[in-house]
């Protein structure tokens, strides 16, 4: 079960793509939905979005940034290895309809999450403007795929090593000024600060905006409340009420804070893991 069929390194190995055999999930998954996996018996459960699915092959593709113990462990797995558990599809699918012009903004690994949504909007007959960014050229992912999934693609890098020199918010603003009310919706997915700033920009233009929230999760089915986020005056569970929410109502600062809850333990886990890895390669 849950065999890894392929492994591709993107962004100089800091981002990894795996195609995983999970036919039941592949048959059901829609853009915007995610899975929760456990690498092995002692592993934790982590949520990852499906960047792609292939019903015929019975596979899903995840693309993740190596940021800590579990993603490092996952990235260390080879093709043909098996994961202990994969459950999904979880969360609500992105509501995709024909609306007119849609702007899709992605930052960092958020681009992977954004890709199926962008593709969905284009297939539904919208004019899709995509804006993707990364810190530098080497960290940029999925440019080719995003180009195919959109009608217009703009690329930015923070250091100017490729595309527009600057942040995705700059290009977003330009595009909103250019297209005005023709833009029916914006979707922004990336690091929390990026989503927060994109949301500020679109709010000024009065454009309805969706963001996908990456709150810490355990079960992903609404039974623990770990993933709760403040949206307007309501507390929502990101896993079942989301992961997408109305950007203009989200308490991004509260989300940012909650994402730091286990920093101490996460560092401890990663340090121990790296120590163990270097020992075993030396031996």
């Amino acid at each position: 079960m849950y065999q890894i069929l392929s492994k591709t390194e993107l962004a100089q190995g800091t981002v990894v793509a795996n195609e995983i055999h999970a036919p039941k999930i592949a048959a059901k998954a829609k853009p915007g939905q995610f899975i929760i996996l456990r690498v092995n018996e002692t592993g934790e459960r982590i949520p990852l979005t499906m960047a792609n699915t292939n019903e015929e092959r019975g596979t899903i593709t995840i693309i993740y940034q190596v940021v800590g113990k579990t993603t490092a462990l996952l990235a260390s797995m080879s093709a043909m290895d098996h994961l202990a558990d994969v459950v999904g599809p979880l969360g609500r699918p992105t509501p995709i309809e024909k609306k007119g012009t849609i702007i899709c903004v992605g930052g960092g690994t958020g681009v992977a999450v954004l890709h199926p949504i962008t593709k969905g909007f284009k297939e539904a007959g919208n004019h899709v403007i995509a804006i993707i960014g990364a810190r530098n050229k080497d960290l940029l992912i999925m440019e080719k795929e995003m180009k195919a999934a959109s009608n217009e693609l703009y690329v930015c890098t923070d250091d100017g090593s490729y595309g527009h020199h600057g942040f995705v918010t700059d290009v977003l603003k330009e595009q909103l000024e250019k297209h005005g009310a023709a833009v029916k919706e914006a979707v922004c997915i990336g690091p929390v600060p990026m989503m927060k700033f994109c949301s500020k920009v679109t709010k000024d233009f009065g454009i309805p905006t969706m963001v996908s929230l990456n709150a810490i999760m355990v079960d992903g089915t609404g039974m623990c409340g770990c993933c709760r986020v403040q949206v307007g005056d309501e507390t929502k569970f990101a896993c079942v009420d989301g992961p997408e929410f109305d950007a203009h109502k989200v308490d991004f600062d509260g989300l940012s804070a909650r994402l730091t809850a286990y920093q101490k333990q996460e560092k401890e886990a990663m340090d121990a893991y790296q120590k163990k890895c270097s020992c075993s390669t030396e031996a």
Binding site: V87, G225, A269
Partner: protein
């Protein structure tokens, strides 16, 4: 001839000393040795009209099995228990015996009641360590397929009963391990997970298929199970897995947990063994647990074992109203849990990083009885205090998770979102669909869920055999 025999007192089960166990996750009571079990069994009067049996939701033939224990025929005893109860090792440990079987025991009128739960546990534990207990006979295959959604005690009972009747049974479970609350909620020190795993393995040996990592409503729907996957009947036993919060300011601060999250991390994910296991959990210096039921006791005692010295139970009524099992309250007190009765939280106060650091409490007094018959707690005007709290666990009950009900056509739910089903048969308004346990009754007990499962299994079997 001796006139009157010296009365045997109720035998206490040996247990780990409080000061030792409050820092480990090993089981607290250690079990009866054979001699003690037989001595305790000798206290039973073998009543002709046993009141204890009436107190047991599944009518275990208590005098009959205890008689077998008296005789040292433990195989006979376990077969007797199994007739009514598939999980004696679990029930012996977690049933609220004082309100059920033991609460009714005639010996208890003048003396302490017969330790029925401990004897049941003894027999079950003994049986688990034998390899020559006959497997229950499995009837000829019927060719009918049943899907069980949720692997708590209710779902497992249905699965066990129907596989023996010759039907094909597949259990779908959202988590990666079967067992329901028995694995994710109730801690190791109260119910060792090896016992639950043993029960599930036994089911597998009988032919039950387990499909973990399937969230019904998301991975597949009930209607798809019936229409596309060819199941003849579906049993829904998904429990009451929706955490209830207090709805007070500051509840989204870090360090504030639902009991579901806290216990799932520690039990199912084994966070108490971090960093050997990857799931993290925090240790509080000042822990406050809100609520007074079994869930609250489990959270309190778990946080103590995680290394806290200051652990408080905040409960808005008085000690008499505590809904937890007597044994758990007793154990919690022995382990040094501090009880704050007649206090209700008003708001959480956070530090500059967004962590909870204190909680404001309102002192209460008991007024007139409310709908539940219990005296209603009312605030005492002006009595508000603030206590340190860097880990808060909310254990004030659970509700119905709508994942299954909202994706199934034609299921009736009540105003709280629980499934409407016949009390005895578990039949729902939707054809071919049965339901039982916490998703029908609201959060209740293991034995009630198992009892509901048995009723539904009988009804499903009738339907599969006769068509009604």
């Amino acid at each position: 001839m001796k006139k009157k025999k010296e009365k045997t007192p109720r035998q206490a089960m040996p247990e780990q000393a409080a000061e030792v166990r409050r820092r480990n996750f090993d089981e607290v009571p250690l079990g009866f040795p054979e001699e003690l079990a037989m001595l305790e069994a000798s206290r039973c009067l073998s009543c002709k009209k046993p009141a204890c049996v009436e107190g047991c939701p599944v009518s275990v033939d208590i005098p009959a099995f205890i008689n077998k224990v008296k005789e040292g025929d433990f195989t006979g005893a376990i077969l007797k228990i199994w007739e009514k109860n598939s999980f004696p090792a679990v029930c012996g440990r977690v049933c609220p015996q004082e309100n059920q079987c033991e609460g009714n025991c005639i010996v208890g009128k003048k003396d302490k009641p017969v330790a029925i739960g401990s004897l049941e546990r003894f027999v079950a534990d003994w049986a688990r360590n034998q390899n020559d207990i006959p497997m229950p006979p499995i009837e000829k295959k019927t060719g009918k397929k049943v899907a069980v959604v949720g692997s708590g005690p209710g779902g497992l009972t249905v699965a066990g009963d129907l596989i023996r009747k010759g039907h094909e049974v597949t259990v779908f479970e959202a988590f990666h391990k079967p067992g329901g609350v028995l694995v994710y909620g109730i801690p190791e020190f109260r119910l060792p997970k090896a016992i639950v795993a043993h029960e599930c393995n036994f089911m597998e040996k009988m032919g039950v298929k387990f499909e973990t990592n399937v969230v019904v409503g998301q991975t597949i729907t009930v209607d798809e199970l019936l229409n596309d996957e060819g199941y003849d009947a579906v049993y829904i036993g998904v429990g009451a897995g929706l955490p209830r919060f207090l709805n007070i300011p500051g509840e989204n601060l870090m360090g504030v947990y639902s009991a579901n999250e806290y216990l799932t991390r520690s039990n199912l994910m084994k966070a108490y063994r971090f960093p050997e296991y990857d799931t993290p959990l925090v240790t509080g210096e000042h822990v406050c647990v809100f609520g007074g039921g079994n869930v609250a006791m489990d959270a309190l005692r778990t946080s103590m074992r995680m290394g806290s010295d200051d652990v408080k139970c905040i409960y808005r009524r008085s000690r008499d109203e505590l809904p937890a099992r007597g044994e758990e309250i007793h154990h919690a007190e022995q382990e040094g849990i501090e009880f704050f009765f007649l206090h209700s939280p008003l708001r959480f106060i956070g530090d500059e990083n967004g962590w909870v650091k204190a909680v404001e409490l309102q002192e209460m007094q008991l007024g007139e009885p409310d709908d539940s018959g219990r005296r209603r707690p009312e605030p005492i005007p002006g009595s508000v205090k603030t206590v340190d709290c860097d880990l808060a666990i909310i254990a004030v009950g659970a509700g119905a998770n709508p994942l299954v009900t909202s994706t199934t056509d034609g299921l009736d739910t009540n105003k709280w979102g629980y499934i409407v089903a016949n009390e005895e048969t578990g039949k729902t308004k939707k054809g071919q669909v049965w339901a039982g346990g916490d998703i029908v009754t609201g959060a209740a007990t293991v034995i009630l869920a198992a009892g509901a499962g048995r009723g539904a299994a009988d009804s499903i079997h009738e339907y599969l055999t006769w068509g009604w």
